[in-house]
């Protein structure tokens, strides 16, 4: 524990100061240090997309990002996508509306990724959605409904 370093992070618009070892990933910092457990740990090796968050507005994998690397950058997690008590984000609503999940484990990552997919302009067709959502795996195989949800949310967001 001698190698801890103090870092300042901005998560969902809130400033946090925490002491972590340099090897601690953003994913572990969120879940274990900040109790933001909406971001899920799937493979922990950059293959499944369950840990997708936004850094400076772009989707990245928090399992392959060191917490210390994102000092000075704005991090958004699923908890910060809509304000508590406020209306859900259109992508969250679309996932509910279209039943775009079964077990729900991959869903926070799917939703964070889908928000970016739409924002980037990569939701123009079902094929394009499938290509640009390919970094998010769903072991339940809810893909057809996920594609529907992204397609419909893209209409609402445009």
């Amino acid at each position: 524990m001698s190698n801890q370093t103090t870092i300042n992070l901005e998560i969902n618009g809130q400033a946090h100061t925490l002491a972590v070892e340099p090897r601690v990933t953003l994913l572990d910092a969120l879940r274990d240090h900040l109790e933001l457990t909406g971001t899920k740990k799937g493979c922990d090796q950059g293959q499944c997309g369950a840990c997708t968050v936004h850094v400076d507005g772009e989707r990245v994998l928090s399992c392959l990002t060191l917490a210390v690397q994102v000092e000075g950058r704005a991090v958004t997690t699923i908890e910060g996508l809509s304000d508590p008590g406020a209306e859900l984000h259109p992508v969250q609503s679309a996932f509910l509306e279209h039943d775009a999940f079964q077990c729900g484990y991959c869903t926070p990552g799917q939703i964070m990724s889908a928000v970016s997919c739409i924002r980037e302009g990569h939701a123009g067709s079902d094929d394009e959605i499938r290509e640009y959502m390919s970094g998010n795996l769903c072991r339940c195989g809810a893909y057809p409904h996920i594609v529907e949800a992204v397609r419909e949310a893209a209409k609402v967001m445009s």
Binding site: E21, P22, R23, V68, G135
Partner: protein, 327 residues
């Protein structure tokens, strides 16, 4: 993952002097470094974060060619309008690689330095023998599951495939890797495994990639990247080809053709024999078919990867036809 000390470099010079220290690794996008640290392949004592360095992510295209800073992200380069116009194969190779998240993280310099996906290399706990990880320890892939392994550029010590897509396009168009002032043609930057598969590139300790440049050419302007793989997205190539063609003024005789191969070789592979067979010839299907066979001259299979000797020429053939239609 073993713990390490962390240094955030304030300048390239600071990064370089830190990188010269033993057991030190530079951290850019992190998608390879942290992945392999979790696998137990990397165990750096010091990690030098270069992601906060300014001015290393420039993308500039002019009449001479493209200049791409080492820290430019894959997603930005893939979407850059001038790269799309002047080097479509480069853009296509990038957006067909990895996933959207990884492309937002991974840098161009780091992309070149990605390591093989050989399952034996990536799993030191189960497979202690790996000549790439521990020189002289042996190779489990030769007699093992080697469906993804290389058929070109292999040696008795190693058959691990170089997995990158971008470098296959870069090697076709004579890109140059900038290590600060030192400039290395990309074909010389990557090394064949030979008896030293642990040495993968020409970079020395204390050097870092600062940029790559790609000379402008008509062939690069009329280029495409064709990637064939086990699933349609988020998968490494079983075989891929970057092809660019320039015609004579008759629009059918090939003046210049460039072919880079991915997924089948131990380093980004330039298919010069195919190029030589087609330069000066009229682009027509039978000529292309027979010339494409030359892509796998000297190929050696190890069982599971035998299909690549059949697949690679077909991919080359299709990519030439596609590129020819663009030129």
């Amino acid at each position: 993952m073993r713990d390490f000390s962390y240094l955030r470099a304030g300048s390239v010079d600071e990064a370089l002097s830190a990188a010269a220290m033993p057991a030190t690794m530079l951290l850019a996008g992190g998608t390879t470094l942290l992945d392999l640290a979790k696998c137990g392949v990397n165990a750096p004592e010091r990690v030098v974060d270069i992601t906060h360095l300014k001015g290393l992510d420039t993308i500039r295209v002019d009449a001479e060619g493209a200049f791409i800073g080492a820290l430019a992200k894959m997603s930005r380069v893939a979407a850059d309008p001038a790269i799309l116009a002047g080097f479509p194969a480069v853009s296509e190779a990038l957006w067909q690689a990895a996933s959207a998240q990884i492309r937002n993280m991974a840098t161009i310099g780091g992309n070149l330095l990605q390591r093989t996906r050989c399952a034996y290399f990536r799993d030191p706990a189960s497979f202690p023998a790996c000549n790439k990880r521990v020189p002289g320890s042996g190779c489990s892939a030769m007699e093992g599951v080697n469906r993804g392994h290389a058929v070109l550029g292999t040696s008795d010590a190693c058959i691990a495939t170089y997995p990158g897509d971008l470098a296959a396009a870069l090697v076709a168009f004579d890109a140059v890797v900038h290590l600060g002032e030192r400039k290395v043609p990309i074909d010389d930057f990557f090394l064949l495994p030979g008896t030293t598969p642990h040495k993968e590139h020409a970079m020395q300790p204390g050097e870092m990639i600062t940029a790559i440049t790609i000379p402008a050419s008509a062939a690069a302007r009329h280029s495409t990247y064709l990637k064939v793989r086990d699933r349609q997205s988020y998968e490494f190539a079983a075989a891929s080809a970057a092809v660019g063609i320039e015609f004579e003024t008759d629009h059918e005789t090939i003046r210049d053709i460039r072919i880079g191969l991915g997924g089948v070789a131990t380093k980004p592979w330039r298919a010069r024999a195919v190029e030589d067979a087609l330069r000066g010839r009229v682009l027509e299907p039978d000529t292309i078919k027979s010339a494409s066979r030359l892509a796998v001259e000297g190929a050696i299979a190890h069982g599971g990867n035998h299909y690549k000797i059949e697949l690679a020429p077909r991919v080359v053939e299709r990519a030439i036809l596609k590129s020819g239609a663009l030129a």
